[in-house]
């Protein structure tokens, strides 16, 4: 998949408009300076929009396109192309492709003329979709034809690639419209350049995993430094190299696995060793044990449980619950845990994260963060610590946490799906991995947590204990949806 930086041009500069308002243009400087600051590699494709041209219908920034095209960049340019001559003007400037909007979807004969004159591979139709309907004329009107009809027509003209923007999405919060692109994969053989909503490097990887997506256009996220281009390119080069993980969680009390919604109505769910072994056989990539016993006396039982489970597994084991000191941490590692999760104690004493990381290595340290309405909760999600969850996760990373176990208290036990907005907020600002927890109810939830939430692992408890879904079913589903699993 190509990563295509997008530059909106106005008055000789790269700008961003808010809500299409020309009076509020934020200026980022001359295109060459912007390209240099973004580290755009030679030979890259650039998406250039001449904003003035889209308003007036006449190519304006032709000099800039000439300059860019002479710099070993593949330029595709758009903005108010309404005649063959408009398009020719851009090709004469060195553009390799032109983007056409309204005429791609309003049945205009100009589209066929453009294809005939310049070749189908040089014409990129831009299709803007809102709630399943194509919008034209600067999103002002519904197109007279359906999405299926438009793509059938594009296919009949042998157009290989279309730029698709979902304008119903609030991109930053919800990310690219993966669902729309999936639907298009069933509808058409035309390859899609995804546009809109790409706000972190994980989005780019997730798009690269969809087979019908040939490129993704990124504007604001690059200009605002939310995405490092080199970083995104490196990850896109091998989007399937590293498998994502599925992790059953055992809440353990007094040596038994228990389950209950928000720690109320707790029921017995079996022997931890038997559960853990069954999950390994089903393909679990790791097991998490959370000790929810309340008293110190029960800690010894917890250590014993960890020892028994560790002795029966050949996959990594992460243990959390009631870890207050470096010595507690050490005891869990000695009992056979590979990694230990710290929660409440780290909020009271953040230095504990750094101390454990330097004593045992960052790979052993998991920061468990329970979040409710964006704030950190302590004491099993019962009490607010009045700290912003995203800030806390960021701080934990800088202190030496190797991974974050992020539980949405709002979603926990509801089966309503993982909290994608919370996940996106955290994964967008971290380099270390995030385990999504709380809310899994159906197969698609796991996919969404990884694909859209940016999680590197997905965790569930009662869903697996109750055999609503098996670990194997979840992994098969992820694989079918293009997400690499072990």
């Amino acid at each position: 998949m190509e990563v295509i930086p997008s530059l909106d041009l106005l008055g000789g500069n790269v700008v961003r408009l808010t809500h299409g308002n020309f009076d509020t243009a934020k200026v980022y400087g001359e295109p060459e300076a912007v390209l240099a600051s973004l580290d755009v590699p030679r030979g890259a494709r650039l998406h250039v929009v001449d904003l003035e041209a889209s308003r007036t219908g006449r190519p304006v920034e032709t000099r800039i396109v000439e300059r860019l095209a002479s710099r070993d960049l593949i330029v595709q340019v758009g903005g108010g192309i309404r005649t063959l001559d408009d398009a020719r003007r851009w090709f004469d400037c060195g553009a390799e492709r032109v983007i056409v909007g309204t005429i791609a979807a309003d049945g205009s004969p100009l589209l066929a003329s453009l294809v005939e004159t310049f070749g189908a591979q040089c014409i990129v139709p831009a299709v803007d979709i809102r709630n399943g309907v194509i919008r034209i004329a600067g999103w002002q009107r519904d197109a007279p034809v359906s999405i299926a009809e438009v793509f059938t027509r594009l296919e009949s003209l042998a157009i290989p690639e279309a730029l698709v923007t979902d304008i119903s999405h609030d991109g930053v919060l919800r990310g690219p419209s993966f669902r729309l692109y999936r639907e298009l994969a069933r509808l058409t053989s035309i390859r899609i350049i995804a546009s809109g909503g790409v706000s972190n490097a994980g989005d780019v990887v997730s798009l690269a995993r969809q087979r019908n997506i040939s490129g993704c256009v990124i504007g604001k996220a690059l200009l605002e430094r939310r995405i490092d281009l080199a970083d995104a390119l490196a990850r896109v080069a091998m989007p399937n190299a590293i498998p994502e993980r599925v992790i059953p969680c055992l809440d353990v009390r007094d040596g038994r696995v228990v389950k209950g919604v928000n720690f109320v109505d707790i029921r017995d769910a079996g022997d931890p060793v038997e559960c853990a072994r069954r999950y390994e056989d089903e393909g679990a990539d790791e097991i998490v044990i959370l000790d929810i016993s309340a008293t110190d006396a029960n800690r010894q039982t917890a250590l014993d449980t960890v020892r028994r489970v560790a002795d029966s597994l050949f996959i990594p084991l992460t243990v959390g619950g009631g870890i207050r000191t470096v010595e507690d941490f050490r005891a869990m590692l000695r009992a056979g845990a590979d990694r230990v999760a710290i929660n409440t104690a780290a909020i009271r004493n953040p230095q504990l994260i750094a101390d454990c990381a330097s004593e045992f290595g960052v790979q052993a340290v998991v920061l468990s963060c329970d979040a409710k309405d964006g704030r950190v909760m302590v004491r099993s999600g019962k009490e607010s610590a009045d700290i912003d969850a995203v800030e806390w996760c960021r701080r934990a990373e800088s202190l030496g946490a190797g991974e974050i176990l992020l539980t949405s208290v709002n979603r926990d036990g509801t089966g309503a799906g993982f909290d994608i907005e919370l996940l996106r907020a955290v994964t967008s600002v971290l380099k270390i991995g995030v385990i999504a927890s709380g809310g899994a109810g159906k197969l698609e939830d796991f996919r969404d947590a990884i694909e859209c939430g940016g999680a590197r692992a997905v965790l569930a408890a009662s869903l697996f204990h109750d055999r609503v879904l098996t670990v194997g079913e979840v992994k098969r589903h992820l694989a079918e949806e293009g997400i690499p699993v072990r």
Binding site: M238, I242, P243, F314, I315, P316, G361, V362, E403, G433
Partner: protein, 194 residues
Amino acid sequence: MILIDSPVANTANIARALRTAGADLQITSDPDAIARAQKLVLPGVGSFAAAMRWLIEHRIDSAIRDAVNGGASLLGICVGHQLLFDLSHEMGTTRGLGLVPGEVRKFEGRLPVPQIGWNRVTARGPLFEGVENPVFYFVNSYAAANAPHEIARADYGGPFTAAVQNGRVFGVQFHPEKSSSAGLQVLRNFIAWK
């Protein structure tokens, strides 16, 4: 088979995995016993320099070389695998056992270090026979790359050597004891190798 009982390794997990895979195992740090072994497993976690220092202080480095020269086969795991190479660039430069040519360096890609998790390898040779799904569990910040005797390769922001074989000397950068059935199969293959 001897599992070298190092304080800078998690020997208990490896011992359990080796026994599950069928090994008749002795766990010791006695250099005389090590020098006489037929089969040796060298585990290791933490820093290369500390692990190497411990081997030298306890004369285990020469015991391992004696054993290998006498016909023993050897499997290094994780930092134990790294110790097989000529040298490591972890915190300065430290000489390794020199049983396998190559050098160990820090990951240079843009992915978070250490690598913590499962990774797919491209593998060949007797150590990987019968491994249906070659995905293994790694925890490492350092690795060899393009080692001359590479038998398995993985990618973490760039290719690295996931396993080597130089005659009877084997090394795996991953943790077979944490890699479920694929890891146990590798251990079985080492146990059965002649």
